[in-house]
Point group: C2
Chain length 259, copies 2
DNA sequence: CGGAAGGTTGAGTCCTCTCAAATGATGTGG
DNA sequence: CCACATCATTTGAGAGGACTCAACCTTCCG
């Protein structure tokens, strides 16, 4: 969606800019690299499969995907949700086989980066390289929060927590309007993400709706009362390291968990 | 325990060698760097605290530690167990504050690496740098497996799984003899790690004991029937990327999940 | 020896699951 | 444009895995 002529609003650059300053030259180079080899993928397709070989660095430009892991007997855990702007398989070359899978949920558009991308970034765009590591660091923090949810939070809290996370993460790449954002997980997928049963997911969602916290229908989430939702979830946005910056000029942090 | 005069068996080098070949020069340099600033820490002390500033790269040389995260209301999730040879806070400089804490369980000995360690490794010991990223990659895989456990496995399975993991990880750094290894988690800590209640941990352990799978007493774990334990846990050791190599000569993989 | 921490046991409860079926969306082809 | 198949959501009733509370026992250590 090139608006006003310049396509500076790629979700990737937008996300990375949230982690720190990015030289205009580096940003241009990144945009170039990302759009060099773009692929369109239909919904519900495995991009990388557990046990098989690894791939190169990918950037999700549009659509939703998931990272998941299956047990021998078929049970499946969704580890995290990948949103536009998310980078994955950043260290693929380090392993000979995947310990998990990655699949699209919706139809998606994918930037496949050249094999020497990281080396080039390291050599010529150190500021960009740093932001890439930051991104990786945030992904790890999200993963830790997911573990914490699964281990400590009740079903209601887990549900509230994931809704907060997905809402804010989309907002940080301009994928929200007002208090609404897309939501491409089915209740069954939510169940696999939150470690509960589809039936119970349904009941938990109805609870949250009944209490006027959210609205969720037709792949669209409306957060009616973010404060109460956040409170219920024991949600602390600090780990997302999201800086609120719209035009790119100011960058007053709103959700940071300052010391 | 310098055996035969040379202390080449630091748990770090041992662990890294499992991920790939390490030049003798790099190894010597690593040993040097790690033993340059060694600190002894008493049991049950926070090394790094959630919300506070980050530290530099650390290597756990001896003893057990944990990575954990606390919710506002006090609930605590132990994210992972750190064993001798484990590296942590590898990307500390990327964040301004910790999203989780790290604490010792036992008295521990800790190698604190110089700030330019990674840069030096990158410049002069690329083989070592690669193994460090491998290690980070394996840590992430362990974290993913933890999420999978918490989300999909039953209490019994989770318990069996963590026992398999801790046993194998210790074995990979020569911290086991026969089918026995140290075990420095109390039942309460196991509960915080597995997302269950201390009382239920106790009952689950008794189940496993009754079935002749394990023995656990006095901070010592004996795995009586690894095969059945592994089967019960739906444990797949592939993600640990452990190569079996004793004297350093051969390296027949035993637990690898070959394609 | 006494206190504290960890481990064990019992009984009752409830959060979450299972099974099953009905209803509502979505999409495809004739 | 309807009929059909498929998938997603919803609802009900019953069962059970894991939790809570509380007491008691054991080990450890100053």
């Amino acid at each position: 969606m090139p608006k006003g002529g310049q396509n500076v609003t790629s979700p990737v650059t937008q996300k990375l800019r949230g982690f720190g300053s990015l030289d205009a030259r580096s940003e241009a180079w990144l945009l170039e690299a990302v759009q060099c080899d773009v692929r369109s993928v239909p919904p519900r397709v495995d991009l990388l499969r557990q046990g098989e070989g690894t791939g190169s660095l990918h950037v999700l430009l549009e659509g939703w995907s998931i990272r998941y892991k299956t047990l021998e007997d078929g049970r499946r855990q969704i580890l995290s949700v990948l949103l536009p702007g998310d980078i994955f398989d950043i260290n693929g070359h380090l392993a000979e086989s995947m310990d998990h899978s990655i699949a699209t949920l919706t139809s998606a558009s994918l930037g496949v980066l050249a094999d020497d991308f990281l080396d080039m970034a390291r050599a010529r765009h150190p500021d960009l390289e740093k932001l890439l590591w930051c991104d990786m660091h945030v992904s790890a923090a999200i993963q830790r929060d997911r573990s914490t949810s699964l281990g400590q939070r009740t079903a209601r809290e887990r549900m509230a927590h994931i809704l907060c996370e997905l809402y804010l993460r989309q907002r940080s790449v301009n994928r929200s309007s007002g208090h609404r954002c897309a939501f491409h997980l089915t209740q069954t997928e939510l169940a696999e993400l939150l470690g509960m049963t589809p039936v119970y997911v349904n009941r938990t969602l109805q609870d949250l709706r009944r209490e006027g916290l959210i609205q969720l229908e037709q792949k669209c989430l409306t957060v009616l009362d973010f404060d109460r939702l956040q409170e219920l979830a024991l949600f602390d946005a600090g780990y997302l390291r999201i800086c609120e910056s719209d035009g790119g000029a100011d960058s007053h942090r709103e959700n940071a968990h300052a010391v």
